[in-house]
């Protein structure tokens, strides 16, 4: 069985890689298998973890024997979950054209709740803490920073201000303002470049992982 599994995995890996040469039936087969299995897998995971694991078990908890031998709920039922289930069912009304408008209600509920929750999370973690992190003494609290750190801090200050200037479109980008905006766009481009480098590293890691499988686990040519 292990041999079959290895050959199937190798067949599918090579099939996907074959797209680099050109589009071909082998690639299309592997792609269709991948999409089909992914859809099936996620359906099962969501069904068992959310509908059964969260809703069904939450509303109808499993019974267990207590100290006097009576069959009781293992935990208290959580009837609030029924509200969520009803909203979920309402979402499916979209499938019936005549009453499709009902699906807007659960959607409005989800958007409202998510916005409210995320507003606080993002405002605190991604805005206030970042502003706080940017406002810092250039030389350290007690002038304890190294030259390397001081230069880094100056770059952060200049990069932040000029980056903000670049996105200020109410004044024409001319003169000193235009030059500052140009520094800002360079800062942004360098940031994108660093991100691109990391992305290359990530994609190469995936390829390296498959090469390790092909030449190591499958063919046994490398340790």
């Amino acid at each position: 069985m292990e041999h079959v599994a290895l050959w199937v995995a190798a067949f599918l890996t090579l099939g996907i890689i074959s797209f680099l040469y050109k589009d071909n039936p082998w690639y299309k087969l592997c792609e269709a298998i991948f999409v089909g299995i992914s859809a099936g897998y996620w359906f099962i995971v969501l069904f068992w973890d959310n509908i059964v694991g969260k809703f069904w078990v939450g509303v109808f908890p499993p019974k267990e024997l207590n100290d006097v031998g009576e069959l009781v709920n293992s935990v208290e039922p959580d009837y609030w979950l029924i509200v969520g289930a009803v909203l979920g069912v309402l979402m499916l009304m979209r499938l019936i054209p005549n009453i499709g408008w009902i699906s807007r209600w659960p959607l409005a509920f989800i958007i409202g709740c998510t916005s409210g929750l995320y507003l606080i999370n993002y405002f605190s973690s991604n805005m206030m803490r970042q502003v706080q992190g940017t406002i810092m003494p250039l030389l350290g609290m007690n002038y304890e920073l190294s030259t390397y750190d001081i230069i880094g801090n100056i770059i952060i200050v200049i990069g932040t201000f000029t980056g903000l200037i670049y996105f200020y479109f109410s004044k024409e980008h001319k003169g000193w303002f235009g030059r500052a905006a140009k520094v800002g766009i360079w800062t942004i481009m360098i940031t994108f470049g660093a991100s691109f480098g990391y992305t290359v590293m990530s994609r190469m890691s995936l390829l390296i992982g498959r090469v390790d499988f092909l030449f190591g686990d499958w063919l046994g040519l490398i340790n």
Binding site: H3, A10, L20, Y21, V45, L46, D49, N50, G53, K54, V75, N121, Y122, S124, S125, N126, R129, Q130, Q132, G133, T191, A194, S195, G197, Y198, T199, V200, M201, S202, M204, S205, L206, L207, I208, G209, V211, D212, F215, G216, W218, L219, G220, L221, I222, N223
Partner: protein, 334 residues
């Protein structure tokens, strides 16, 4: 010979090679292949010569097909696996920070590790997971594992299985439920983290194998994040480090470090610099650096040579691409 026939011939030759190599592995005819340093250097020289050839062709105005670029990247990734060249890995401050944060934990401290990734991200994150778990368990730290991704808990089991083969750990006689525990996967994304801030057991009534939370010695007294000394999040996307920072770190004051895929890592530096994260392992490079620090050379270290070669090829083709661009005269329009 038609193109179709040539393609089939190449596929046939590759298939034949694979069958021979596989049978060689099964019946023990073929051992692993390792190039000597001399051969390794010759291979490097051939790759460089190939790039120079491509550059000269580009300067002459003869552009190459994209398949040639893929071929070079493929060779650059594959060949280092056979080479006997070692690469020096320097530790970056963020990796050192994570190591220091874990190293200063007293014995018996509780470390929460969340596995928020699945097999596609394993080449980057699994080496981090193994090195981190190895270091924690070999230093008598208690590890509580969980996952916000369905396959996270399984990835944790694979990592545990791999590190338990280590002689040092095997000799320690670690016990499940006492030294480490896998609480499994819980659906609900960041809301799981939020509920854990009040009560772990409300989210994890049983562990991965179905044992009740209260029966597990390691966690029976763990009520919420206030009972956790350090947390490490392995993340490949949503839900992941960002959600842990927003809820567990900023709201509940959890001390946390993270290991991210390289795509995600640049976004985490903002949290690191603002002090919301204590340590960061970014991509395979971060994994290799951490493996060196904890003296557990694993796949991160092994893969780094391929990673470096691939980067050099990408940089070389960026240069060649720019040469082609400016030579074509389109650069003047900039």
């Amino acid at each position: 010979m038609s193109t179709r026939a040539k393609e089939l011939l190449v596929v046939g030759i590759v298939l034949l090679f694979c069958i021979i190599a596989y049978l060689g592995k099964v019946y023990g005819w073929v051992d692993t292949v390792v190039f000597s340093p001399m051969v390794s250097m010759i291979v490097v020289g051939i790759i460089i010569l190939g790039l120079v050839f491509v550059l000269i062709r580009t300067l002459q105005g003869r552009l190459i097909n994209r398949q040639v670029v893929f071929l070079f990247v493929g060779i650059a990734v594959i060949m280092p696996f056979f080479m006997s060249i070692t690469q020096k890995i320097r530790t970056s401050p963020e990796v050192q920070q994570l190591y220091d944060a874990v190293a200063e934990l007293p014995k018996g401290s509780k470390v929460l590790v969340s596995f928020d990734y699945d097999p596609p991200s394993a080449p980057e994150l699994q080496p981090m997971a193994e090195a981190f778990l190895y270091y924690c368990l070999s230093n008598d730290l208690k590890v509580i594992i969980m996952g916000l991704w369905p396959q996270g808990a399984q990835q944790a089991n694979l990592a545990l299985e791999a590190i338990m083969k280590n002689e040092k750990l095997a000799a320690k006689g670690l016990e499940y439920g006492k030294d480490y525990v896998n609480l499994g996967y819980q659906a609900g994304n960041e809301f799981v983290i939020q509920r854990m801030g009040a009560d772990f057991s409300s989210m994890f009534r049983t562990d991965y194998s179905g044992r009740h939370y209260e029966e597990l010695e390691l966690v029976k007294n763990v009520k919420n994040f206030s009972n956790i000394d350090y947390s490490f999040n392995l993340s490949a996307g949503y839900p992941g480090t960002q959600e842990w920072v927003q809820v567990a770190v900023d709201r509940y004051g959890l001390k946390m470090g993270c290991g991210n895929t390289a795509v995600q890592a640049p976004m985490m530096y903002t949290y690191l610099n603002a002090g919301q994260l204590v340590g960061l392992l970014g991509g395979m490079n971060g994994a290799a650096e951490f493996e060196q620090l904890v003296k557990y050379p694993g796949k991160g270290t092994k893969f780094m040579l391929s990673q470096s070669f691939a980067h050099m090829i990408v940089i070389a083709f960026i240069i060649i691409g720019n040469v082609a661009f400016f030579r074509s005269g389109r650069g003047k329009k900039l």
